[in-house]
């Protein structure tokens, strides 16, 4: 990976998340492009996906009023799950990308809710899963394929040998 690109890219995605995507609601959910990027990069490069998850989570936590670090942990758990499955799933299929984006979103939200409850936030889990997580998972699933394709190009730019092998 072209390392110097990941930090501004993730910072920009966090900025767009707080200024634009969180203003456009579908039920109570919204597109989480930062999480989608972390999921897609974890599919392409599991080890770097872990670093993206930590950095992306930290950037998101800067714009959050909740306990610092919980988004980072939630993103890391998703990246670990995807990395653990790497090589066992055929992740180049669009269906697989969409399925992983959907389940990744659900895992991230479950982790986030669990941590918030742990820190004493009284949340109605059933309502949040139905009105926040499911709409977000739906939007993330739709966005996952174009994001994956865009990041795949970046992945090949950073590693032309891989591009030749996969071609």
């Amino acid at each position: 990976m072209i390392w110097f690109l990941s930090i501004p890219l993730l910072a920009l995605l966090a900025l767009l998340q707080t200024t634009i995507f969180r203003q456009i609601l579908f039920l109570d959910g919204s597109l989480d492009l930062l999480l989608v990027a972390v999921i897609c990069w974890s599919m392409l490069r599991p080890e770097e996906g872990l670093v993206w998850a930590l950095l992306g989570g930290i950037f998101a936590d800067i714009f959050s009023g909740g306990p610092f670090g919980i988004t980072a942990i939630a993103c890391l758990l998703v990246a670990i799950c995807i990395g653990a499955l790497h090589g066992r799933l055929w992740t180049r299929s669009p269906i697989a990308v969409m399925a992983i984006a959907m389940f990744g979103t659900v895992i991230a939200h479950l982790a986030s809710v669990a941590l918030l409850v742990f820190f004493g936030h009284p949340l109605e889990v059933g309502y949040l899963l139905a009105y926040v997580t499911l709409p977000t998972a739906f939007l993330n699933t739709i966005a996952s394929v174009p994001v994956y394709l865009a990041l795949r190009r970046l992945h090949f730019v950073g590693a032309p040998v891989l591009a030749e092998e996969e071609a």
């Binding site: 900025l15 758990l77 653990a84 918030l116 936030h121 009284p122 949340l123 109605e124 009105y131």
Partner: protein, 281 residues
Amino acid sequence: MFNPRRRFFLIALALLLAAVGLVVLGQVGIIQPVQDLALRGVSGAQHTISTTFFNVRDFITAPRNLQELIQRNNQLEAQVAQLEAELVTLQEQASEADALRALLGAARQQPENRYLVAQVIGRDTNPFLHYLILDEGSDAGVRRGMPVVNEKGLVGRVTEVSSTASKVQLIIDPNSVINARIQTSRAEGVLVGQSTGGLQMIYIPQNVTVTTGDLVVTSGLGGGFPPEILIGRVISVHKRDYELYQTAVIEPRNDFTSLEMVLIITNFEPVQIGPLQGTTS
């Protein structure tokens, strides 16, 4: 040295521990200055992006004005591009003026308060929490605990401040707790935010009659908010004879999804009653 799978899990474990460490540091308060610094660095960009977003959204969601634009387009073909740009700017200025006029009206109702107008430049990235990011911070005199209102009533309170931005916990956040009063019966209770984006008033004494439509205002008890700020109205009451208190569901007057400008009450000092209770909070 390690096979790839083992290496992956070792990195994962190290980063997970680092993240847990961040959470611990965040709880202790060590991360706060770094977070403030980062927020200060990006608040300008946040302001630009959110203003552009509001302009585009207002342009798209104004069908009547769009029709006017189309008519002008037919009449003045040569100048259409210039007029469109001009109109969008004017529309934004007009809506900003409307918002300021409404806020000014609210400010005049309570002349004893000093207000600072702030623009909403961001929302909480965590979808389960309800916080706003405003474009005014400690440089403009904003302090932690200051109440935030608009022309419709109470919005929330400032929870974090950097030099150029501040975070506001909305009253609908699940962690928000406000001492409130039902205006007609003067019954007091505690208003708590709900995950559903609504409000619930708890600890209302059983002997008080609460009816649908009653207005709910801040009581001023506890010193967290000034008294008599409008919050919402009662939409349903839950009273059971075997319970100590009754509860009511409150509909907030504000639509928190479309807030663009707010007023921070800058001359209100929240009272710290922690020491009186013998514990610090």
